[in-house]
Amino acid sequence: MSKVHVTTTVNGDQAEFLCEPRETLLDCLRDKLHLTGSKEGCGTGDCGACSVTVDDRLVCSCLMLGVEAEGKEIKTIEGMADGENLRPLQAKFIEHAALQCGVCTPGILVASEALLKKNPDPTEEELRYWLAGNLCRCTGYDKIIRAVMDAAAEMRETS
């Protein structure tokens, strides 16, 4: 099958890859650009482990085709920290023990960051509904919710 040449921006850098039209953005990120921080938990849009932003919009990269990334601005977990400085969310996840196995963590961080950008002061309920598309099987969500709320508070103070 002939491949399509895609030019896009990933975490601020220009990126190019060749893909079949049926390949997902997630597969392209992982297999062609070797950005394996985004995970595939389901491939059907149900788990959020593959969460990335495309032009600042939160999407499941398993539900988007690689060819649709043409000319777009993609952000993944690998681009979240600023050099060696973690974002408050990342630091709070470690501090609050908000990860056990950690496989859901990249997606939950990307999704939480996207929420806090829109709504810097979410209620617990708003946060729980926002994250309802991000499955975590290990933690029961308690420490995740606490970590995000705490990070949000810190970000409000410093902004």
């Binding site: 993944t76 963590t105 990249p106 309802a132 991000n134 499955l135 099987r137 933690t139 308690d142 606490r146």
Partner: protein
Amino acid sequence: MALDNKNNEFKVIGSTPNRPDGLDKVTGRARFGADISVPGMLHGAVVRSPHAHAKIVKIDASKALAMKGVKAVITRADFPEGLEGEDWNLQENAMAGEKALYDGHAVAAVAATSPLAARDAAKLIEVEYEVLLHVTDVDEAMKDGAPAIREGAADYSVPEGLHPNVVRFFDTGMGDLDKGFAEADLVVERSYTTEAAHQGYIEPHACLGQMGADGRGELWCCTQGHWFIRRMSTAVLGVETTNIRVTPSEIGGGFGGKTTITIEPLSLALSRKAGGAPVKMVMNRGEVLRATGPTSSASMDIKMGMTKDGKITAAHGTFRMQGGAFPGAPVDVTTMLAFANYTIENVHHIGYDVITNRPKQAAYRAPGAPMAAFAVESTVDEMCRTLGLDPIETRLKNASRDGTRSTFGPKFGPVGLVESLEAARDHANYKMPLGPNQGRGVASGYWMNWGGETSASVAMSEDGTVTVSVGTPDIGGSRASMALMAAEAFGIAYENVRVNISDTGALGVNEPTHGSRATYASGLATIKAAEECITKMCKRAADKWGIDADAVIWEDGSAKPSGPNAGEFDPLSIGEICAEMGETGGPISGHYEGSPTGFSGSFGTHVVDVEIDPETGHTTVLRYLVVQDAGKAIHPAYVEGQFQGGAAQGIGWALNEEYIYGEDGRLQNPVFLDYRIPVASDLPMIDTVIVEVPNPGHPYGVRGVGETGITPPLPALANAIADATGLRMRGLPMTPPKILAALKAQKNG
């Protein structure tokens, strides 16, 4: 073994430092099973049976093999014959032989140059089936006329006259049941069912296998126990165990489901056939749900007797469980632990392990315990309600405690059931006022914990820092726990300890991270290996000072002269001793090899408040409390995490999760949308209380906390729903349609 530190005056144990692998896991750098790639790698895909039970007439791979980029196709013909027992079961499950035994059973696999090519090729492999009658329900599978899945699968324990699908039988008990029931003022007899639930780890199984024509090679995979994977994979392939070195990746959840093999031997077999090129295989979610083991489903009858003042006089339980197409449903554990919360003189358990056309069950957190807990704790709750007794006081009255005989035989040592019940009773959640349609449920649970084969090393570095090597993969922060225990043993800072999860080439055999054993057994091994290092460092100091090694003590990270020499020499710090070790006798390391037997079980009590929507039958969990005995919490935040995660899984099992099979024997819900695990908006905060009744069999009192927490939620929720509505739900999951139907039936009298 004596408790080294009776007064629990710890320096670092009990603190909550950041986990060493935290940075990798919040930046996307941590490499999980599917994240590993090597040059020259091929990709594998599996052909799976669409039928629940079918004879495999013919497999034609010619079209696939003709496809560009396809390098190898394997079927059962590529595996050795003549395996027996569980090795044969594992082989048959990894790749079907004469028959496909369940929807999703692997029948062939292919390796190609890209994941897409492999998937396309798999579709071109033509399999001709002759469809057979199937059975997926445990009660149906035991009935006369049910299709026999495999004649001769039963072992010696099964009495004559039972259906050939009954493959193991358990019958244990003590006391005099008739006498016990005669002493009771109330005797209740009830039946219950639970459906199969999947572990639901978010990371699907993934591996990368490489094996040459000489049968030697390597395997990278996400697993709870790489020595288990090594033994099972090599047995299935008919090669020597040490031929394959297995390296564990980071693991995205396991909960018991990643203690066994699925695609691992397939990747090795494909690699060998493809001339030794490494083959990567990654399951999709549908494959995980259809073809890897969920837990058993169960059908149970409970009969219990109680006096007016709440003393349990007798108990009888019958447990029928299916574990898929192979023996192995955890009925042994179910029967053993069914009544373990209580001291009962007259008790009897009967268990049936039944095979059906479903995937081979795998361990799932406290395997076998939650089903029985649902039945028994629901029955006890019903009796308390009938007799007007408080559920916690009644449990306290009958509670297992230090010195009482367990319902499975041995006497308990120090255990924390009474403490957990008292803490639950005294917690604010137990006193919160309830509104209309709201109810409160209580239940307790138990897991006996485990030691198991354990091998660990501790090596001193030139700068006085320490490397700990263990063989139990870190699924929930265990590197942090190991580092804390090593830091405590050496008297050094947590940051000065580095913990490796070693591959099978670097240590002796280790059982998996299962049975709630990692913190207990690898922790004990770490402490013992550290003590060996300390002994050696004291000897180096003694030699330097020219005194007897016995006259040197280790305190706060330094060797110090003691007894008559006390104060005579300046202490030698760990850093000073290690800086010189090259000249004073060479490297210093310590080891532990053993199967520690001082493990001790963990009891817990949960209290849940729910609200039932009378319009929809939907259950909202308003608040949730977990109280559990940790023995000693090494890193309390990760102990709480285990409590909370176990509770959430139990809530899912109780309210939502189930394997749904159609008339055709196919799994109807092999996607996360339909196999619905709890999401953030389904749950409240999960409150925790850590009870600490030290385990005398661990230097620091550790018990192991991973499994108990999934057990109480099933009955606690049923009891809360009963409190809210007066409805006694005896079949899981308690979904909105079921509750709504029961509410309607209740209304119509």
